[in-house]
Amino acid sequence: MGEADTDRELVERVQKGDKRAFDLLIRKYQHKIVSVISRYVSDWSECQDVAQEAFIRAYRAIGNFRGDAQFYTWVYKIAINTAKNHLVSQGRRPPKDDIAVDDAMLLDGGAWLKDRATPEHELLRQEIEQTVFDTVEQLPEELKTAITLREVDGLSYEEIAERMNCPIGTVRSRIFRARDAIDAKLRPLLGDPDSGLPGGSG
């Protein structure tokens, strides 16, 4: 089972009416989708509304998703169409050229986003980035290696197990513990709905 299979698995659940699975898909792609939409819709609040609308449209149409393309590519196109429709409904002209899905999230391609981010957003973004990298640096060596091989090098658990000469279960545990350690550091910055912290609401 690969990463694309995870999406397919979740999509199948959604198609059977499981909203928990759709919640996971939203959370997986929400930042990417909002980033893409923000290239079309500059107002941040408007941008979030359009993103929500895009996900709602995706949910309504998910019965027609057959898995020919990746889920992200599919929802990305819905997001762009939703953003364009929004501009048209506001009497504004949408840009002629779309952003290629592969370019949308790369840092270089994100320079445009950086320029448009408010100072508060950019500060928070930098703070989060710093926290993630600092925490990874401070992790025990075996956790740091496991999470780096996974996230940066994109190796499978089996490949990491071979590299680290340990069982796959151990790899799985190390990656989880690394993520959990970083999450613990991020929580105060991002906010926790249960704690009432505003976090990253912007």
């Binding site: 928990r20 919640d23 309504r60 840092l107 993630v132 499978s156 799985r172 993520r179 926790d192 709905p193």
Partner: protein, 241 residues
């Protein structure tokens, strides 16, 4: 609080439980949360067995903090991959989408299948549908065989059906539509099974009934062929001289 040490003699008996979970004392709730967290992490990497996903989703529902963790794990992943992401999203962004879906009675969780071939239905109205006995009728305007463009549908709330009236095809054809119509799709409570489909697909097969959920009530949707219009009056061409 009572803590216990998990004692498992043979790790092969618990392949889903990691070395870490086996070796650290924790209470049952913590152990479950940790186990689900680890599965969530594995799911993210596409390393969770197919049959464990459903179990995980049930667990996630019971422990909403796992949704938050899932969000953050993806944020961490994007950051480590040097992707630029919009960090300033409200923490309850996804919850907002789900809440809107829950509140929107117009949303149909089940879409028509490709085999049926009439694309997207849109449900409108019915905000105060009474209990499980309301009957809704709708009209779908849809060229036969066209798949991608969404159909237009008009739904009307009807009075609760009685046992003497099996269904109420209340919808009307859309005004100004020149396309062939699939007409009088009737929506029934799921337990009601007496609506007979009366139109067929281009290949001659009968369309499968669709199930939708409105306001927490499950309905069966079946479509019927529109009534055959009266034949146009014959116009006789004037005789050529």
């Amino acid at each position: 609080m009572e803590f216990f040490q998990l004692k498992i003699a043979d790790r092969a008996q618990v392949p889903n439980m990691s070395e870490h979970l086996l070796s650290h004392p924790m209470n049952p709730n913590q152990a479950m949360a940790e186990s689900l967290g680890e599965q969530l992490s594995a799911l993210m990497d596409g390393e969770l067995a197919h049959d464990q996903v459903r179990f995980l989703l049930r667990g996630v529902e019971a422990q909403p903090d796992l949704f938050r963790r899932w969000s953050n794990y993806h944020l961490v992943s994007a950051t480590l991959k040097r992707e630029y992401v919009a960090f300033a999203l409200p923490v309850n962004f996804a919850q907002g989408v789900i809440a809107r879906l829950d509140a929107d009675v117009a949303v149909s969780a089940v879409r028509p299948s490709r085999r049926v071939g009439f694309g997207v239905l849109r449900w409108v109205g019915g905000g105060a549908i009474a209990a499980a006995v309301a009957v809704v009728a709708l009209t779908v305007s849809r060229p036969v065989g066209q798949v991608d463009s969404p159909a237009v549908a008009v739904a009307e709330q009807a009075p609760a059906h009685s046992s003497s009236q099996p269904y109420l095809p209340l919808a009307r054809p859309l005004a100004n539509s020149t396309s062939p119509l699939f007409n009088y799709a009737a929506v029934q409570p799921a337990s009601f099974e007496q609506v007979v489909p009366s139109y067929y697909l281009p290949d001659g097969s009968e369309p499968a009934p669709e199930r939708i959920e409105i306001g927490g009530v499950s309905y069966v949707l079946r479509a019927q062929r529109p009534p055959v219009p009266d034949p146009l009056p014959q116009v006789t061409a004037p005789a050529q001289r």
